[in-house]
């Protein structure tokens, strides 16, 4: 963060443009659990993407591909809304594949 700005440099009412904002690493707030998705169960309904209060659901075009550890706060909303039980919360220290996704034949160690 490059220092705090004086009042003259702020937009009226504090309106923020994308260039004004730092990308806050909300993933650093995570307190012990993280989501793990089983892609063989996922129906790609994208409810997790819709409900995620941050930007932690990674998609390519319209396909769910995993989670972004930079933003995921471990809030469990995705696991709660997943209609097919494809997302479970696991301890932070669990070793997981990249983007925290697996097929059912893979297993988190």
């Amino acid at each position: 963060m490059s220092g705090l700005r004086p009042w003259q440099e702020l937009s009226p009412g504090g309106t923020i443009r994308p260039t004004d904002a730092e990308k806050p690493k909300t993933g650093s707030w995570r307190t012990g659990i993280k989501p793990l998705a089983d892609l063989s169960k996922c129906t790609n309904c994208l409810l997790c993407w819709l409900y995620c209060p941050d930007s932690a659901i990674l998609i390519e075009d319209t396909t769910f591909v995993g989670f972004d550890d930079y933003f995921c706060k471990g809030c469990e909303v995705c696991a709660a809304v997943c209609p097919v039980g494809a997302i479970e919360m696991v301890p932070e220290e669990t070793e997981t594949p990249e983007r925290w996704v697996m097929r059912s034949d893979e297993s988190a160690s």
């Binding site: 004086p6 009042w7 702020l10 009412g13 504090g14 309106t15």
Partner: protein, 384 residues
């Protein structure tokens, strides 16, 4: 139908007059909830919209809290937005009025000033406006139906000025102006349209090519700066108001000022107040002047921003300043009294102050004479 009086003049109530101004401005969105004595404003406006005079989207919301919330949303989205209220409505809206100012939404609101409950009362005083005095909104007070109309025409230009970007409230005395017919001249539609111009708000919320976040969270790091910016905007609003007043004054050939100086030249005793009661005071000033008494009137139009410097200058020759507040402040002194005391600090002029007109009680010429004579009680016409 408006009654023709003199050439070019019509007979309209204050409510009808500002509704006509709003229809000529033709705002995009008008979220509103009805309350006495604001009702004739929105009733007439709704009729004008229904008759095709304006193309405004009127949103009938469930409360004044919602009215102002919706007005903020549409103003920041990029649509010229107005609303109107009175008294308890303004009280319920108060929380959101602060947000409108803090988010720098250039909203215009018509206010029919009315006393606050309890006891329940529907008539005029200025206690509703006083309640939001520190919210950051500009408040302009009319003396007459004509002035209420003219202020409404000018208000968008002030609110939307890039140096200002604050809500503007056009205040008129409930019933005394909102429901009373006076002759006035309406400015031609095309002239109003040209004067007001196109609505422009920087960084509109619906600009999907340039996305923004509005209604931000600002803590110890930025809250002070963002609130301070409103002080700076209010300071800049004084010359902006004067500039807009000056420009419109040339078009309609009527004088406008943030202050009206009436028989101030050589006046020793000067009454200072806002609103329609100035008419009564002017009659008494004329009468006393005819008898050789050096009295005058200084009428405040721009309550916020409060033009302390201009007031001090206008009162430089006065030996006694008499402030009349149309609101009370139990446990302290009302707004105009304390702010005049601050403005006159260090001056040798004597300061007197009275509270008058609460809940619509009239101030009659005899009382104005007693006020000038120094024989009136602190609360005018109080039975004790």
């Amino acid at each position: 139908m408006p009654v023709k009086t003199q050439e070019g003049a019509q007979l309209l109530t204050g409510g009808d007059a500002v509704a006509n101004a709003m229809a000529q401005i033709d705002p995009d969105v008008f979220p509103v909830y009805p309350i006495t004595p604001q009702t004739p404003i929105i009733q007439t406006f709704a009729k004008l919209v229904a008759n095709g005079k304006a193309s405004t989207e009127i949103v009938n919301v469930e409360s004044e809290h919602s009215a102002m919330s919706a007005t903020i949303g549409s103003a920041l989205a990029g649509a010229r937005s107005m609303t109107a209220t009175s008294s308890q409505g303004l009280a319920l809206m108060a929380e959101v009025v602060y947000i409108a100012a803090g988010m720098r939404a250039p909203i215009v609101m018509a206010v029919g000033n009315r006393a606050l409950s309890a006891p329940l009362n529907i008539h005029c005083d200025h206690s509703d406006s006083m309640m939001i005095r520190d919210s950051g909104v500009i408040q302009l007070f009319a003396e007459s139906v004509q002035e209420a109309y003219d202020l409404m025409v000018m208000a968008p230009r002030i609110a939307e000025h890039p140096d200002v970007m604050l809500p503007v409230l056009v205040c008129q005395d409930g019933f005394t102006l909102t429901h009373s017919e006076e002759p006035l001249e309406l400015t031609p539609d095309e002239v109003v349209k040209d004067f007001v111009g196109e609505y422009h708000v920087p960084l509109p919320l619906l600009d999907v090519e340039n996305v923004t976040t509005k209604g931000i969270f600002a803590l110890q790091d930025y809250y002070t700066e963002l609130r301070y910016a409103m002080n700076a905007a209010m300071e800049k609003a004084v010359p902006v108001i004067e500039e807009v007043f000056g420009e419109y004054s040339k078009i309609v050939d009527r004088p406008f000022g943030i202050l009206e100086e009436y028989e101030i030249e050589g006046a020793e005793r000067v009454i200072f107040l806002m609103g329609s009661t100035a008419g009564t005071i002017k009659d008494v000033v004329d009468e006393l002047r005819a008898k050789g008494e050096k009295v005058g009137l200084l009428r405040l139009v721009s309550y916020r921003p409060f033009p302390a410097e201009q007031i001090r200058k206008a009162l430089a020759g006065a030996t006694e300043v008499i402030v009349l507040d149309r609101s009370d402040a139990p446990g302290s002194v009302p707004s105009l009294h304390s702010e005049m005391a601050a403005a006159l600090y260090g001056s040798s002029a004597k300061l007197r102050a009275h509270v008058f007109g609460l809940g619509g009680r009239e101030l009659v010429p005899d009382e104005a004479r007693a006020i000038f004579a120094g024989e009136a009680p602190t609360h005018i016409a109080l039975r004790s």
